[in-house]
């Protein structure tokens, strides 16, 4: 039996009727056409499906859409503002932290959740924060550098503004 759910996705209220066995990942990709969130393993191992749920990064393949009722979801599509990339996205581009790009949305959201809580993370804290996000291409070093760069940029903007 379908249930009516409401949630805020990237700042917008959405309402929909879903079957209880629909995951949040399916709901975002198939019902809302937000295909930036990737479907990898479906079992919590790869982190490609990472979204931010009420401020915390989670594997959307292991959350039911009905469990997100009344909650706030941020996906990669919600990061850019007025056509400008978010500083973390820009740093990933600048530092060459993207190759095939499949892990990138999840990586960036894990990094965002980290920087929101801890604006000046150590290298170890960065590596821990992205430890549930697998990348088959980059070898992680450039991703870590991109997060460090983003932290500096975000910190700088906050001081000057």
């Amino acid at each position: 039996m379908k249930t009516i759910i409401q949630m805020t996705v990237n700042g917008e209220l959405v309402e929909s009727a879903v079957e209880p066995n629909r995951t949040l990942l399916q709901f975002l990709r198939e019902d809302l056409d937000l295909t930036g969130t990737k479907h990898g393993c479906g079992l919590g191992d790869c982190g490609a499906c990472t979204v931010i749920l009420d401020g915390k990064p989670v594997n959307s393949c292991l959350v039911l859409a009905v469990q997100a009722h009344g909650r706030e979801v941020l996906t990669i599509e919600g990061l850019a503002e007025n056509g400008n990339l978010h500083p973390i996205q820009q740093a990933f581009v600048d530092k060459g932290a993207i190759q095939c790009g499949f892990c990138t949305p999840g990586m960036i959201l894990s990094a965002k959740a980290l920087l929101d809580e801890n604006p000046k993370p150590s290298e170890l804290e960065i590596r821990t924060a992205i430890s549930g996000n697998l990348c088959r291409c980059t070898g992680y070093q450039k991703i870590v550098e991109a997060v460090q760069e983003a932290a500096t940029v975000i910190d700088g903007t906050e001081v000057s503004s």
Binding site: T23, L43, G44, D45, V58, N59, L62, A113, S131
Partner: protein, 295 residues
């Protein structure tokens, strides 16, 4: 990977949750963080016709200090919340450390302590710390409630002392004595997202900063069909001055209690060697922390 169909229930009071469980019993599964249940349902290992989410039952996600005497941790508190909690890091360190090693950050934000304990996996992270802290688990059903000690709860791989109509509502722990220190060490092939090859929790109480050991508790995971307390190694420590040589003997005794298996994560021989080393190391860390205990 698709989830099979099921009926979904989302009780908003504990009484409603317990009533649903007693009506639906064997056909229903409790859904907490879903990091185990949803995986098993996708793999078609579990096929419940009803799923009862406990996420909106008030209070199950609270950590409540009992003014100095202990702490009550709700059954649906996440591993992430445990690992970040100040009091738990201060007085109940093995549990906070173990919660911080469970899975990866995204898993920790969903995975609950209740789910981890009821799962009863031999290599799970949270049973050993609960066992050294002498935790008591409160189980409730529509018809009553009971408490089970952590050391009695685990029966076999995937089997725990809980009925299908019962909910694990809280974990109760008494505050350890002064001059107590704890530790938790998990050995896997990688740092994160790794099921333990061996995990050890230890709790040591000293008579005074440079006195003898008055209480010692050691629990081992992934070395037998259930997590086990290493009672023989504990007895050897009590009444003695902490020394490296003593810890070495305790480690050797610890190995004797285990029946590890060989699998893709490690061989039996390697596991036995690691038990010895990790028991020794965890005792050393616990004693160091006991010496620097602060009121």
């Amino acid at each position: 990977m698709l989830l099979p169909k099921f009926e979904y229930h989302e009780p908003s009071t504990l009484q409603d949750a317990l009533n649903l469980l007693s009506e639906l019993g064997g056909n229903a599964k409790v859904l907490a963080g879903g990091t185990d249940l949803l995986v098993r349902m996708k793999q078609k290992i579990d096929r419940p016709s009803h799923v009862i989410s406990i996420a909106r039952v008030p209070g199950l996600d609270a950590i409540i200090p009992r003014n100095g005497h202990g702490v009550t941790i709700g059954g649906a508190v996440s591993a992430g919340a445990i690992s970040r909690h100040e009091l738990l890091n201060d007085r109940f360190l093995p549990l906070a450390l173990a919660a911080g090693r469970l899975g990866a950050p995204m898993i920790r934000n969903r995975a609950t302590i209740g789910g981890n304990l009821v799962n009863a996996r031999p290599a799970a992270d949270l049973p050993p710390p609960c066992m050294v802290l002498n935790a008591e688990f409160k189980l409730k059903s529509a018809s009553g409630e009971r408490e089970v000690a952590a050391v009695e709860f685990f029966r076999g791989p995937g089997e725990a002392d809980i009925e299908p109509n019962e909910l694990l509502v809280s974990i109760n722990v008494e505050t350890p004595m002064p001059w107590t220190g704890g530790s938790y060490i998990k050995l896997g092939a990688r740092k994160t997202l790794e099921i333990s090859m061996v995990n050890v929790a230890a709790l040591i109480t000293l008579q005074s900063p440079d006195g003898v050991i008055t209480d010692a508790r050691i629990a081992l995971g992934a070395v037998a069909p259930t997590p086990v307390r290493a009672y023989a190694a504990e007895e050897l420590l009590i009444g003695e001055k902490p020394t490296d040589e003593l810890f070495e003997r305790a480690g050797m005794t610890g190995v004797g209690l285990c029946s590890p298996i060989t699998d893709h994560r490690g061989t039996m021989e390697y596991r036995c060697m690691m038990i010895e080393v990790l028991v020794k190391r965890s005792l050393k860390q616990a004693v160091e922390r006991a010496k620097s205990w602060k009121p």
